[in-house]
Each structure stands twice: as C-alpha cells, then as structure tokens.
C-alpha cells in the first residue's frame, strides 16, 4: 500500500509541473522510460528534480580518467510565472568542464544524441562544421511526420542549440542501479550473516519470527530445489544457487519500493540479468562432466542425425546458449513488464486528466485498484522469478553433472514443464 501511495506521489509531481504550464507536455513514454532506466543521480523522495548525487567515473577519449559528482552535470532551474506567481522546477543538463594539464574536458549527460541519458565527452566544432550539422538536423526535423527525436545526428550531440562532436565515454559511474546493487549486496550479506550469527550463538535453538522466515526460505530453496535435484552434489553448488536466489529476490523487492533505498529497476535491467545468466552458463559448462559433453557432441540418437551432417550437434550447441539466454530474458522481461504495467496504470490518471474532473475521478479509482493488484502481483512475481531462476539454474547445472542415462529423461521433462 505504502509503495502504491508513494508511486502515485512520485508520478504526480512531474505531471503537475507539466500541467501548470497550461499545455499537456506530459510525455508518457519519457516518464515510463525514465522510471525503467538508469540515472546518474538518485531521486530525492517526493521530488522529481532534486537528486542525491552519485559519483561519475568516466574515461575520456584520450585515456584520462575522471571522477566527479553527478550534481555537476545537472542544474535545477526555477521558473517563476510572473502572472500567477507559481514556481516550476526543471532539471537541465549542464556541461561540466574539467581542466587537466592545460586541456579542458567537457562532459554532459546527452539528451539530443544517439547516447541519450549517458555521459558523453564533447568536442566543440569549428563554425562551418557546426552549421553543416545543424542543417542536417533541421532538414530531418522538416520532414513530414518527423518524430521529436528527429534532430539527432549520429556522432554529434546538441546542447543548448549548439552541436558538438561527441564521444561516448567508457563509463564506470556509480549510477542509481549500481548503488542499488551495492545496497542489495549489503542487505543480502547482512541477512545471511545475521543467520550465521544466530547459528553460532544459539546453536540448535529453533529460530523465530524474521529469522524463522529467512530459514524457511533457505530451507525451501536448499531442500526443495537444490538437494532434490543435485542430491550428493548439493553442497557444492548450494552457495552459488542460494546467493543467486537471495540476491535476485532482494533486488526484485527493492525495486518495488519506490523511494530512496529502492526504486531502481535492477532485475528489469538486461545488464544485471545478463551477468546472472552468464554466471549460470559458466557454472554449467566449466564444471560440466564428461557425459554432458558427450551428449552434446555424440548424443544417443540414430547415426544419420549426427554423422554426415551434424544436425544434433548444432541443435545441442545452440541449446547451450539458449538456456542461459532464456534465463536472462525471462527475469528481465518479467520484472520490467511488471514495473512498466504499474507505471502505465498510474500514468493513465494523468492521461485521462485531460478529459476533465469526472474522467480524473473515474480513472483514479480504476487505476488505484489495478495498481494495487499489480503491485501485489509483482511481489508474488518477484518471488516466483527468483525461484524460477534458481530452479532452472539448478536443473541446468544438474544436467551437466550427470553421469549416466537414468535420470536424464525425467530432468528434461521437468525443465520443459517449467519453461512452458
């Protein structure tokens, strides 16, 4: 519930800012993507312009490393409407100049560029070249049915109506997502270590309350998934799989909390799921047994399927990569989809707001009901996706750990069932 209320507040602020100007410049797509994507600063709760600054770490084109606060890249502009006295706040990107060894480096968060919302290094153009680029942009804009982003010219970035040559820096910034990642790591470490502390202090005393729930989860995954599938090898792979489960679960749930420690759409970011899937891929293949490789390169099928034309081999090798890819995309799509639906439902209120008071009333009620439902569903999905990721990872690893034929068929069926 709290999450929902905060979601509403959070989304309401920029919309109100837009509405005050009398024209509907509410860009739904922009708002949705901003919520789903990464950022260099972290929104201060209930404010849509002020950001908690985070360190930006970039490598310029000539190999120099720079680290500065993300606050230097944005500026809050307060506009006061003289007629009504209302103040509106805008967040505006500014060029951050750093002088080093007699050379000046310019950095900016690109807006009109191919690298939108990323830190790029700018190089001022000679006047003729600048005019030429601008002409191209204008020509693109003048085309009938041109999109708002049509003024982007590849390799160039526009800031305050001036085009610069841009260089996408090598970016190791501690962005909002990276920060959320660290927070998740701390939370998971704290959680597990508190359990360890409990066991070392209290021994065999049965855990109660929060610790009981934590142990329930650990036991659910360890006994229900890992031990059942990997049997005697459970202990070897349990640390990886349990870490996966708790890390994903924490990131998922943290993503559903809208204000500061949460709100980063981590598991709905393909980079994060890609790393997780890659790690499972490594665990599966690097530690795979002989039988697993034999099944790939010389499977137990009629000879004509594998000899002159290596049909089965191609399928199996393809399968090695599709399995983790499915893991990656499943988690990413589920979590991102959940976030997207919630934010879209909330945005409906502001879309319908254009049709007057009755439409607002109706859409608020409907949106709130649907959003409550979706957020509740997302909590469930957070758990299910963490579980499914762990379950499938376990099965992939188990398949690579087999020595004989006896269990293979059963495992394949299980995987097919879950994937369906």
């Amino acid at each position: 519930m709290l999450t929902l209320v905060i979601t509403l507040f959070d989304a309401a602020l920029p919309a109100r800012a837009g509405g005050d100007e009398g024209k509907s410049d509410l860009d739904v797509k922009e708002v949705i993507f901003e919520h789903l994507g990464d950022g260099y600063g972290w929104e201060v709760p209930f404010s849509h312009v002020y950001r908690i600054p985070l360190p930006v770490i970039v490598r310029a084109e000539d190999g120099q490393w720079f680290m500065f606060s993300s606050a230097k890249l944005t500026e809050v502009i307060v506009e006061e409407d003289l007629a009504t006295g209302k103040k509106t706040h805008h967040l505006k990107p500014v060029i951050h100049d750093v002088e080093r060894d007699g050379k000046v480096y310019h950095f900016v968060i690109a807006h009109v560029s191919k690298h939108k919302n990323k830190v790029v290094e700018l190089f001022p153009l000679p006047q003729e070249k600048e005019a030429e680029v601008k002409a191209i942009a204008d020509a693109q804009m003048a085309k009938p049915g041109a999109e708002p982003a049509a003024n982007v010219v590849g390799g160039y970035c526009e800031v305050d109506n001036v085009y610069y040559r841009e260089y996408r820096t090598l970016d190791f910034s501690i962005t909002k997502n990276v920060m959320a990642l660290f927070i998740s790591v701390l939370i998971v470490t704290w959680m597990v270590m508190s359990a360890v502390r409990y066991y070392t202090r209290k021994g065999f005393k049965a855990p109660r309350k929060g610790m009981g729930f934590l142990e329930l989860l650990i036991d659910f995954i360890y006994t229900g998934v890992i031990k059942d599938t990997l049997h005697d090898k459970a202990r070897k792979f349990a640390p990886y799989l349990l870490t996966c489960f708790f890390f994903i679960l924490t990131m998922n749930l943290l993503g559903l909390i809208v204000i500061f420690p949460g709100g980063a759409n981590l598991t709905g970011n393909i980079s994060v799921t890609l790393v997780l899937a890659t790690l499972t891929f490594i665990m599966t293949n690097v530690l795979g047994k002989k039988h697993y490789w034999k099944e790939i390169f010389w499977p137990d099928v009629p000879i004509w399927l594998k000899c002159p034309l290596p049909i089965m081999q191609i399928i199996e090798i393809f399968g090695i990569f599709t399995k983790p890819a499915a893991l990656c995309v499943r988690l990413f799509a589920n979590m991102m989809g959940g976030h997207m639906i919630v934010i879209t439902l909330v945005m409906l209120i502001f879309i319908f707001a254009a049709f007057g008071a009755a439409a607002i009333g109706g859409s608020v009620v409907i949106s709130v009901i649907f959003t409550i439902f979706m957020v509740a569903l997302d909590v469930l999905v957070s758990f299910i996706q963490a579980y499914v990721f762990t379950l499938l990872s376990t099965m992939f690893i188990a398949m690579a750990q087999e020595n004989g034929h006896d269990e293979k068929g059963a495992d394949h069926e299980d995987v097919a069932e879950v994937e369906a």
Binding site: V185, V196, R235
Partner: protein, 164 residues
C-alpha cells in the same frame, strides 16, 4: 531500444558485486547455515526417535509394573486366603482337641464314678448283708429260744429238702 542494450558499466559492477557477495557468502555464510540446518534436522530426527523409544520403554515399564502389582495382589489374596483357612483349621483342631480332652476327662470321671459307685455298692452290700446277718441272728436267737421251735424249724427245713 535503450532498455535492451546491456550497459557496460553496469555489467562490470554487477559482476564485481556478485562475485564479492558470492565469495563472502560461500566462505562465511552458506556452509555454516547449511551445516547447521542439516545437523539440526538430524538432531531433531534423533530427538524424535529417542523420545519414541523412551515412550516405548516407559510404556513397557508401566506394563511390567502393572504386572508386578497384579501378581503381588494375587499373592496377597492367596496368602490371606491361606491364612484364614489355616486359622479356621487351627480353631477346628483346637475345638476337636478340646472335645477329645473333655471326653477323656468325662470318661475318666465316669469311670471313677462308676468304680466308686461299685465300691460303694459293694460296701453297702457287705454292710447290708452284715446287718441282715446280725438281724437274722437276732431273730433266730429270739425265735429259737424254745426247743420246739428249734425242732419245728429243723423239720420244716428237712421237708423243704425232701420236696426238692
């Protein structure tokens, strides 16, 4: 499209963060927890088994105790029975003895009485016969004072003998 392109910086940090987390937890976290969960589960299993056995033992002990008590009660009843039987036997015996003794005493007494009675009778007879002899002597003396009387008597007696 921005959403579907992995960001290099984030991939890097994610990898670093996950590896660090994994090593911390794999070294100091999970093994301890899993060992504890497993050994506690074993412990609980053992405890349950122990309790079951203890209950079984308790039950059998209770049965045994009941058996002992029952037996003791039976023996007590038997003993009481025996005692009462013995007592009545004793009483009976004593009664019989007493009766026999009494009879003996009575018999002896009877015998003594009989003897003394016979003796008294005898004495009495002797006494009586002595008296009657004396009386008869006196009578004879008076009756046979005359000679005639004496001759009459002798005659009479001779008659009697003759008749016989």
């Amino acid at each position: 499209m921005e959403l579907f392109t992995p960001d290099f910086g984030l991939v890097f940090w994610m990898f670093v963060a996950f590896i660090i987390l994994f090593f911390i937890l794999a070294k100091w976290g999970w093994p301890i927890i899993l060992k504890n969960i497993d050994s506690r589960a074993d412990n609980i299993d053992r405890g349950v088994e122990y309790a079951r056995q203890a209950k079984e033992q308790l039950d059998s002990a209770r049965d045994e105790a009941k058996k002992y008590i029952d037996e003791a009660q039976k023996r007590q009843a038997e003993m009481l029975n025996e005692v009462s039987k013995m007592r009545s036997q004793l009483v009976e015996d004593a009664k019989a003895d007493a009766a026999r003794e009494a009879k003996k005493v009575i018999d002896a007494a009877n015998l003594a009485i009989e003897q003394s009675r016979k003796k008294a009778e005898l004495e009495f007879k002797n006494e009586v016969s002595k008296f009657s002899l004396e009386i008869a002597e006196k009578m004879l003396r008076t009756q046979l004072k005359s000679d005639k009387a004496q001759t009459d008597l002798v005659n009479k007696m001779l008659d009697e003998i003759e008749k016989n």
